[in-house]
């Protein structure tokens, strides 16, 4: 995908140009550090592509795109504190490299910086950009809270889990695309459709992520296989298994959760999931959300040729071999 590599370099150069002040160093050094840790820059890319889809030059949505990426990094810095995560993209998290107070405050100022970027877009579209951005920011916080709440709950239903990932991760993809669409001043109907597309691609992608934890090719995956299993995370696979298991299998699952041998644990869970056909069940749900996304995308009133890049991007994100 030519558009991906071109726009990624463009975004990386613009992210590198974000000029945080030198002082106070404990406030801004962490931001210089964290914003350069990399990542796929998928969210700001979606904003650029959302504008282009509706006939606006992608770079006209640059500040909205940067705002989305900055917001995403703010949420990662604070989430890492809450999740006590020592590493992010194989580098130390902000609260580990500095301390929790620094991570709280530099995250706070980063959220304000996101708003400063949005305010660089035309005043005519500002109220609509802010409406979707504010709503999304609130929902992302709600999703993170639900995620933390679920860790303490023994019973989490699958609809509740999907709602949690929708809020925590997927609405931001919808928002990213819609902000591009707002900059392009397309119809409200088109805006709703592109938002739906992004949101359901996001849910499908997150379900895929849960599947890949246990079923990815270790060489391609780049993460420890079974990491979620070892961390006793309540992923979609785990919740589905609990739903489908016989009492004996439930007991087996509980024993595996308590098992301290990583290899026995991961293999045991995988065997149990295989017996219950969990991967197929999860794949079905993932495909269903992908289908909803594509249906919304198909309904967008622009020529098919304009849709090529985003259609390819969605396929690229979701056809990984699983």
């Amino acid at each position: 995908m030519q558009v991906l590599s071109t726009q990624t370099s463009y975004l990386e150069s613009k992210i590198a140009e974000l000029d945080f002040p030198l002082e106070p160093a404990n406030l801004y050094d962490p931001l210089r550090y964290f914003m350069q840790l990399g990542g796929k820059r998928m969210r700001p890319m979606l904003t650029l592509m959302g504008a282009a889809l509706f006939g606006k030059p992608a770079e006209k949505a640059l500040h909205a795109a940067l705002a989305v990426e900055i917001f995403h990094n703010f949420s990662l810095i604070h989430d890492d504190i809450m999740d006590e995560a020592p590493l992010r993209r194989k580098k130390q998290t902000v609260h580990t490299r500095w301390n929790t107070n620094v991570a709280i405050l530099s995250g706070d100022v980063l959220l304000v910086k996101a708003y400063q970027e949005i305010c660089k877009q035309d005043a005519a579209v500002l109220p609509e950009l802010l409406a979707v951005f504010n709503q999304t920011a609130v929902e992302v916080c709600e999703g993170q809270q639900l995620d933390m709440d679920f860790e303490q709950q023994s019973d989490v239903s699958i609809p509740a889990y999907v709602e949690m990932i929708r809020l925590k991760t997927s609405v931001l993809l919808g928002c990213a695309l819609e902000m591009g669409a707002i900059v392009a001043e397309t119809s409200l109907e088109n805006r709703k459709l592109i938002y739906e597309f992004g949101q359901h691609i996001g849910i499908a992608f997150q379900i895929q992520d849960d599947i890949l934890d246990l079923y990815a090719d270790p060489e391609k995956f780049g993460k420890q296989v079974g990491g979620d299993v070892l961390a006793n995370k309540k992923t979609l696979l785990y919740l589905k298994a609990k739903e489908l298991a016989t009492p004996a299998q439930l007991q087996q699952l509980e024993d595996l959760v308590a098992n301290n041998d990583p290899q026995v644990k991961v293999n045991g869970v995988r065997n149990l999931f295989d017996a219950l056909q969990i991967k197929q069940e999860a794949r079905k749900l993932m495909d269903a959300h992908y289908a909803v996304a594509l249906k919304a995308f198909d309904s967008i009133a622009v020529p098919e040729a304009s849709k090529k890049d985003l259609r390819e991007l969605a396929a690229y994100l979701l056809v990984r071999e699983i």
Copy 2:
């Protein structure tokens, strides 16, 4: 001051009407709790009075006023984590009553809510409201970082200290007033002047706060006298004493800082400060900022009669017997 009591009840009723969702309870219960802890509501009052000063009905600036109050509460929730403060207004802080993660995340969502309130003002004034609000929010974070940095530094100059309190507490008073002025669509010159007024009133008020810690009438003050001294805080008084002390007095001050007997410590520090005339020195600096504030206020191009309420408010805030 009639205007104070009328507007305070109006603001309290509007703050009580802020409708936070019921779920997730761990996200929104802390906000319902914290926003009702009270306080003087001085900042939103300034926004209302800023609008009224320039001939706009105060309630036209209500959402800007609420945004300022919400922002202030966001910053208190996060500052309380960083300062490890167990109490705020004699009630438990959010991180104490819930936990640190809850305080981080509910603070985050509260900051977004502040932006949602601003967005309820007319689109015509939105870019200018956001410009001053964003800049102020960044500065408040910088001020909090400087405050934390200073705790680790042995040498803090008085200009650096004043710059810290300007950022941490005073710019928000200027911002509150200017947002009212923006809603009233007054001239840029008037906006700058009312901002300067608020900022310097804020600095004077903060210096007064430092003085009151040691020199207030305990019955009127409502806080433990010498609280800053007991916490070894680097207040303006302490920094001025370090500047003026002879080597022998410096040694005496160091010994007092290390002393564990509260009464000996507070009385010893007060005697030392009296010998150095620290209260008079601090008062001089406070009066200088009050004078700068009044000079800006005098220059504002509106009839003197319109200025009555704000002039009285400034005098009310700053003439406490010290």
